[in-house]
Amino acid sequence: MSLKTQNQKPKKRRNGLRDDVAVPALGVLGMLRWAWTQLTSMRTALFLLLLLAVAAVPGSLFPQRPVNPAVVTQYLKDHADYGPILDKLQMFDVYSSVWFSAIYLLLFISLIGCVIPRAIAHWKAWRSKPPRTPARLSRLPVYGALVVPSDQALGAEEAAKQAAALLRKRGYRVDLRPAAKDDDGAGTSGAAGTAAAGTPAAGTSAPTGTAPVRAALASIGAERGYIKELGNLCFHSGLVGVLISVAIGGLFGYSGQRTLVEGDTFVNTLVGYDQFNPGTNFQSSWLEPYSLQLDKFDVRYDRESAQHFGQPLDFTAHLTTKDSPDSAAKQQDLKVNDPVNIGGTDVYLVGNGYAPVVTVRGGDGKIAYQGPIPSIPTDTVYTSTIVVKAPDAKPTQLGFVGFFLPTAVVGHDGVSYSADPDPLKPQLSLNSYVGDLGLDKGTPQNVYALDVAKLKQVNGRDLPAKGIVLDAGQSYSLPDGQGSISFDGLKRYVALDIHHNPGQEYALIFALFSLAGLICSLFVPRRRLWLRFGDHEDGRTMIEYGLLARGEDHGLAAEGRSVRSALAKAWDLPEQESPEQGASRQKAHNKTQSTSGKGL
């Protein structure tokens, strides 16, 4: 297939190493070198990239621990057969797994091994002159010739100077190569226009044995678009920067969650958090003791649209903040998509719900618990689950499990459900339990769950005492004087995420840096252009030019045309030789020999 062979790009700068590899006795050093060569080859990079893409997929198929530990636990419970095997394979921690890390670390090592030699090579190219003029410009992909009539008496030297100035204006780096001085035949028969026969280039030694029929003619080597390779290097090294920034975030950052009921205050200390995830290198002294008080939480629902009726339109948490215990209080609004920045952290509004205020009394009539209890919404109308624990109830501890409904409506089957997210008819329906809640042993428990296995149920749908149903303001006494519970009022609460990530600005900066590099790399064409100038015996000045692209370049032919017409304009030439002729010459030429990049 012709296609496959088309766009081959030879490995850059690897040939030297390649040759070493061919040496049969490798030895340890040789092996290492061989491994390194393999690792830093384009083919490996491509393979690792594809592998990375594939390896990322399981993370979307299985629940991930860092994102949702509870779902992972549930999954393991539901799939006791193969769940543990998946766990062994780190399918629930894909992005910190050994295999995923290995792939991206190898990829980045490969990247560094690839970028450094290229950066050195490019540094050298940047500081050196454009490459020497090829012997046969006509072999280049774009080629053409111009003839300045004798009446202009331009002369090769002057033409070269003018062309050089013109090219500089077009953004080329230009190296003017005067004709060799020492020969007598210079320019006499040198017909730039007839160069198909091959003109020895300046700087190359003339073929030995042949008479110096034509000495080196004046020529120009020019190149532009160095920024393409620079952009590519910036792009790749920027990626390394992004990776390092992410790692810094993991080392020195922290995050935590806190639910905050209206009226409550959060102070940024370790004990203030419901859950805290420190970075590997975290120190608690980094926490600045700022405080946030939730004054009020406003929610607005869509009351217009029939289909979206009751869908939330706006959440706003009104906060009173203090940068430190003794600084002045400030009023701030916290919204979804609009975090509050305080004390080096960002505070996000990630959830909300209702916190019914309840009072629980023990069998002795004393208050065992009083206050708001956050309930967990399970649907869009805030049908919420709630757990009330009263370990202080005497003589036996009390526990309640059930639902909170903001707008309770009794359905056909006699079961209540919530009809609206707003609290139009708030109602608690609970089952009650007595016994040892197991809180005294000090083992941490989920406050939103109650293990009822060892408890005695008192109230419930199927029990003689039935379930407890409380509207706002109502209270209920448990049978046999075991205690009571009352539903005193309703508050809202918000779930806050608090984050500190020192790496994230750097990640953004490096990402932008990469992006700029990428754009330069993809869209700046890198081109080489050579011109050769000769004086014809009859006084005409002959100029031939050729262009070569490095990398993909769809505009090379167009560039050839516009350089041509710029020169023609400068020398007042009519477009005497149409571009087509140049191209067809080139075509004819190409037919006769298999073209080769050699010698350029």
Binding site: L3, N337, D497, A583
Partner: protein
């Protein structure tokens, strides 16, 4: 947040239906063009051959990349792309002369308009008409809701289809890509039907999580890049077909002509789809970057391997691999085309399956809203 204009919303849906109907007819016209194009290709071939013998036309320096422009020996073409590393020591290879001999049987490499093709013209005209109606539908939807019209699956599909057709028609101004008409219009119709049948959602406000100017920036670029990927996907498929055909012709098999005769050479397709893919890749890079900035604003972390993030990452990596493949020995041509196709399948997967079936922070597609 102003009130929803229901009347305008209803008009919008009417426009969408009309646009979809027009696209269906345009699709049929392109399909007709495809079916009858064997003849056209034949005529073109004859005409080109005559022109060539008169020494015209063939020598033109191609307007575009010039990829394979010259057919035989195609000096400007892919080679200029590859001659790349100047001191590479490798040799440039000419396309096989067997292909060259029948070069007239593939469309003009410069993708300039050479043949008339009445059916295709009708297709283009109808596409333009459909696009105008479609524009009215998208705009009225936006005005009715008082926000940008890309906030749920219905709107992603309708606005996405609009962009796919618009990008296609814009490219048509400069290049004769009419051979892609059946694919592009077919896809647009599928998207419109999916929107109307599977994802239908009446005009409404956005949930708080989506109320951000990042929605405007992030999603618009995502949809635009996907539209470009759609084009390169179609071209990738054609490239595979064409290169098989070229292989057969080179092996001396008789070419049955037909539609593929109107399609440019595999190399031309590869070069052009590479160009489009580079733009789309930058677009996707921006999508991912803006997405993570938004995620940082909304959820407090710029990257958390949410399902949607995973798949956006996978897409990005696959297209990065595609760009690498184009610079790797033995990976250009057919293999690169496959990578581009796989990348697009990931885009589609991300857009459909992930939005609908995977739960995650991005589960706002509005499919089950209500």
């Amino acid at each position: 947040m102003g009130p929803i204009n229901q009347t305008l919303g209803a008009y919008s849906e009417l426009f969408m239906l009309l646009a979809a109907g027009t696209y269906v007819i345009a699709f049929l016209a392109f399909a007709w063009d495809m079916a009858t194009s064997g003849k056209t290709a034949q005529e073109d071939a004859t005409r080109l051959a005559e022109a060539k013998s008169e020494g015209k036309s063939s020598a033109k320096v191609p307007a575009m990349s010039g990829a394979a422009a010259e057919g035989p020996g195609g000096p400007n073409s892919g080679i200029s792309a590859t001659a790349g590393g100047a001191n590479d020591g490798g040799s440039r290879v000419s396309p096989s002369s067997a292909v060259a001999a029948r070069v007239a049987r593939v469309a003009d490499a410069g993708l300039t308009y050479t043949s008339r093709r009445a059916a295709a013209r009708v297709g283009v005209a109808l596409s333009i008409l459909g696009l105008v109606i479609h524009a009215a539908g998208v705009v009225t939807r936006g005005v009715a809701a008082g926000r940008v019209p890309w906030g749920n699956m219905y709107e992603f599909c309708t606005t996405g289809a609009f962009l796919v057709v618009a990008v296609f028609l814009i490219v048509l101004i400069r290049r004769d890509l009419r051979f892609l008409g059946t694919f592009v219009l077919g896809l647009a119709v599928v998207m419109m039907v999916a929107a109307a049948v599977a994802f239908w959602t009446p005009v409404g406000h956005l949930v708080p999580a989506l109320q951000s100017y990042w929605l405007v920036i992030h999603v618009s670029i995502a949809v635009l890049s996907s539209a470009l990927f759609t084009l390169t996907f179609s071209m990738g498929v054609l490239q595979l077909l064409q290169s098989r055909r070229e292989g057969k012709i080179a092996a001396g098999e008789l070419d049955k002509g037909g539609f593929m005769g109107l399609v440019p050479s595999a190399l031309t397709l590869e070069t052009l789809s590479y160009r489009i893919n580079t733009i789309a890749f930058v677009g996707w890079t921006l999508t991912v970057m803006f997405g993570s900035i938004w995620a940082e604003k909304a959820w407090g972390r710029f990257w958390g391997w949410d399902t949607k993030e995973v798949w956006s990452f996978v897409i990005w990596v696959v297209y990065a691999a595609y760009l690498h493949a184009r610079a790797t020995r033995g990976w250009t041509g057919t293999r690169a085309a496959w990578l581009s196709i796989v990348g697009y399948l990931c885009v589609v997967f991300n857009f459909t399956v992930v939005n609908i079936y995977f739960s995650g922070l991005h589960s706002y597609a509005g499919v089950s809203a209500g």
